[in-house]
């Protein structure tokens, strides 16, 4: 009976090491190389299709994009953003935790892309979330944007204002 015990024990003692060992290296195979090439080709095609779609749906002369960015986000926890252009709602976005984290780390979200005629337009943004001390917080920001010949980019910025411990909502034209 002792050999049975030893045999099992020897086998058992090896496998916990797998818990502590570094993960195995990726094995390079022909399949993987093929997949890499396919990914590259699809990415290039996707880029070309994306640009074609943008040219057709949002020509640069009428294109307008609205972006949302956030700095530290200590005084305001964003729940949603609503955007209206010339009184018409063009975006109403509810954020996930993952998206908020991406915003706080420096990511910028394109919340809207659409078309506008040349000239002046009114843009209104509403920010909803939790303000200082976890209170419900809703603020609006309004600006008049001038749409010219090229694409128009507008940034909605949520900035922590340390001087009064309040969030500040700013609209910047690019």
């Amino acid at each position: 009976m002792k050999p049975l015990f030893r045999g099992i024990l020897a086998g058992l003692l090896v496998w916990p090491w797998l818990l502590l060992a570094e993960p195995e290296a990726t094995v390079e195979t022909g399949v993987n190389e093929d997949v890499q090439n396919l990914k590259q080709q699809v990415l290039e095609l996707n880029r070309d299709l994306f640009m074609l779609e943008e040219e057709l749906l949002f020509p640069s002369n009428t294109q307008v994009s609205v972006f949302v960015s956030m700095d530290v986000g200590e005084f305001f926890q964003l729940d949603s953003v609503q955007v209206k252009i010339d009184g018409k709602e063009v975006a109403d976005y509810l954020y996930t935790r993952r998206e908020l984290d991406a915003l706080v780390r420096g990511g910028v979200q394109r919340i809207h892309i659409g078309n506008l005629r040349s000239g002046e337009h009114e843009l209104v943004a509403f920010f909803t979330g939790k303000g200082p001390q976890g209170r419900d917080y809703k603020r609006g920001a309004t600006t008049r944007i001038q749409k010219g010949l090229g694409p128009k980019y507008v940034e909605l910025k949520i900035v922590d204002q340390t001087r009064n411990f309040q969030p500040e909502f700013d609209i910047k034209e690019w």
Binding site: Q41, E53, G107
Partner: protein
């Protein structure tokens, strides 16, 4: 301990392949180009495909003036995260020229080291790591030290790995990970006592989150088994006792604890953890092995009746497990595994499989899911999922592309209807002639500065008066000389003089006014002319533009249609590879079960023999 550093440690020890703190800063980035920020937004959510696509578009459209160099590095990092190490390596190599600044070079070498490490080229990875300059940031220094130690361990140089970690001052939040890595290196180097001391300290420390508690369990479990292996069963039991019974290592700890007792001859005590394992009704290896260990312990205690009972129970259990394994093998061969794999198509751009597929209606599904989550499966499974996403995406584009033809056709029709009207209006507006007149006036005012003829700036009425007076003089001069005519001529000359004097007297004011007006007109006249030109060119180019769109759409459609069968073939290959891996793994488990079953049967026969012998010996 803050959560963020732990996550980054996991990155560091290569349990994940996302961007790391060396390559992309943990701190919020100062974004100077909106489109670069948009790429980061996708990247931070681990949506690598979308991030790469947006980055490629932004680069093509030259929208990254402030982040161009960083975007090159980011693209390489994204490709690496998205499972394209060959392309990433080429990109990084390309970045390494003499003009690259030190910070960028460090980050490039870091990525190149990572690629070599992932491929298992440890010596090459170590050489590349040496190119990274000593960084100022403590977090990055720690991360690189752990990487360096891992590479040395992979090359079998465990003592060096332990020394490297000993000399490293851990950044805040990394202490535990540095300890466990050092403990492992020492144990591997054969320095059991030093390894024990290091891991012992970690195993006793309080842990305020699940991640740390699991790490502590891991340290205790590893140390317990190592001591058991070294013949120090007493100490082994101490460490195994520290493993939580609610944690992921419960089964291994219970099994080891029993063996530690058995090693010391205390089979009665060994039965406590082993019988607990039997209650778990699990199919995992420690439970399977406990089914052999329990009757073995009863046999050692001389309780042959119970030994026989549990051996028979074990044989029944192994038979049942074997049936399930046979079912899983059969299900794999008949394509059941593929149906499970199809549940993993989540419509997001690839990445690792985080959620276990559901088992509804899948026979022996738990074995299949178990296999799906094993490490050797993860890479081909990721390829399989990525290919599935590419397939979905291209099919979606294919559906949309016909709409693009329609859009171009609608524009062409609108052009054909409106172009004649627009041309007619352009003709009327004569923006070119207007611009020419403005140019003429501009030249005239410029000439005035040289010649200074005030009459050029006379008003229309003045010019008319001037002409009238000249005509009067010419007429009077042609008449017969009479005093009356001479008086009239003198008067006409006098009036012309007066007129000239009036015009000349405010010449400067007039010149200034004209110049001011011309200047005010410059912008609208130029703009009108440019718009006119633009519309004219657009009208002329529109037809060619429509044809160009048609050609582009057709070309892209062809590219989609060419890629789809290739993706399908590659996905078939990946699924065949997964099926083969699954069958190998299931077969290994089946053989192991078979071996246990044989051992149980052999031991059962011996137990019966012993009873028979004992009965024979008793009168």
């Amino acid at each position: 301990m803050p959560k963020l550093p732990l996550q980054f440690l996991l990155l560091c020890v290569w349990l994940a392949t996302t961007g790391s703190s060396v390559a992309v800063s943990v701190k919020p980035q100062q974004v100077l180009d909106l489109h670069y920020g948009e790429v980061l937004f996708q990247f931070y959510q681990e949506d690598y495909f979308t991030a790469i696509s947006h980055l490629m578009v932004a680069r093509q459209q030259q929208l990254l003036q402030h982040h161009y160099d960083e975007s090159e590095l980011l693209l390489g990092g994204l490709q690496l995260s998205y499972g394209m190490p060959d392309q990433a390596e080429r990109r990084f190599d390309h970045l390494l020229d003499e003009t690259t600044d030190a910070d960028l070079r460090n980050r490039v070498w870091y990525y190149l080291t990572k690629i070599a490490y992932q491929r298992g080229h440890h010596r090459e990875a170590l050489t590349k790591l040496q190119n990274i300059d000593h960084p100022d940031d403590a977090l990055i220094r720690t991360e690189l030290a752990v990487l360096n130690a891992n590479l040395h361990m992979a090359l079998g140089d465990n003592s060096e790995a332990a020394d490297l970690l000993k000399d490293t001052r851990a950044a805040h939040g990394w202490e535990e990970y540095l300890h466990i890595n050092r403990g492992i290196a020492l144990l591997r180097a054969g320095d059991i006592e030093a390894g024990r001391e290091t891991l012992d300290k970690l195993g006793k420390e309080g842990a305020d989150n699940e991640e740390l508690r699991a790490l502590r369990d891991r340290a205790n479990l590893g140390l317990g088994y190592q001591l058991l292996r070294a013949g120090n069963a007493g100490q082994a039991r101490e460490y195994l006792n520290r493993v939580r019974l609610q944690g992921p290592f419960k089964q291994a700890a219970l099994l080891g604890a029993g063996w530690a007792d058995a090693e010391r001859g205390d089979y009665k005590q060994a039965l406590t953890p082993w019988l607990k394992l039997l209650e778990l009704a699990s199919y995992e290896a420690p439970v399977q092995e406990a089914h052999l260990a329990v009757p073995y312990a009863f046999a050692q205690l001389g309780d042959s009746q119970r030994a026989i009972y549990f051996y028979e129970q074990a044989i029944g259990y192994f038979d049942e497990q074997q049936q399930q394994l046979d079912g899983a093998i059969q299900a794999t061969r008949s394509g059941e595994l593929l149906s499970l794999l199809s549940q993993t198509d989540t419509g997001i751009s690839g990445g690792w499989l985080h959620d276990t597929p559901t088992l509804e209606g899948v026979p022996s599904g738990r074995y299949l899911v178990d296999i799906l989550s094993s490490h050797s499966f993860q890479e081909p499974l990721k390829d399989y999922r990525d290919l599935g996403y590419l397939q979905q995406l291209l099919n979606l584009w294919l559906d949309n592309i016909d709409l693009y033809y329609d859009m171009v056709d609608a524009r062409r029709l609108a052009y054909q209807q409106r172009a004649p009207l627009i041309r007619a209006r352009l003709e009327k507006q004569r923006a070119k002639a207007l611009y020419q007149r403005w140019q003429d006036y501009k030249s005239l005012t410029l000439a005035q500065h040289g010649s200074g003829d005030p009459l050029d700036l006379a008003t229309g009425r003045e010019k008319q008066q001037w002409q009238t007076l000249r005509k009067v003089q010419a007429t009077l001069s042609s008449l017969a000389p009479q005093p009356r005519h001479s008086n009239m001529l003198a008067r006409a000359r006098w009036l012309q003089g007066i007129l000239y004097w009036q015009i000349q007297a405010n010449y400067k004011t007039r010149l200034w006014d004209v110049e001011k007006q011309l200047q005010a007109l410059e912008a609208p006249v130029t703009e009108a002319s440019a718009k006119h030109q633009q519309v004219t060119e657009a009208l002329e180019n529109a037809q060619a533009g429509f044809d160009g769109y048609d050609r582009r759409i057709t070309a892209m459609r062809k590219r989609i249609l060419a890629l789809l069968p290739r993706i399908q073939a590659s996905r078939d290959n990946a699924s065949a590879q997964l099926q083969q891996l699954a069958l190998q793994e299931l077969e290994t488990r089946r053989q192991r079960l078979e071996s246990y079953r044989i051992q149980a049967r052999y031991a059962l026969a011996r137990s019966y023999d012993q009873i028979a012998q004992q009965s024979g010996e008793q009168p």
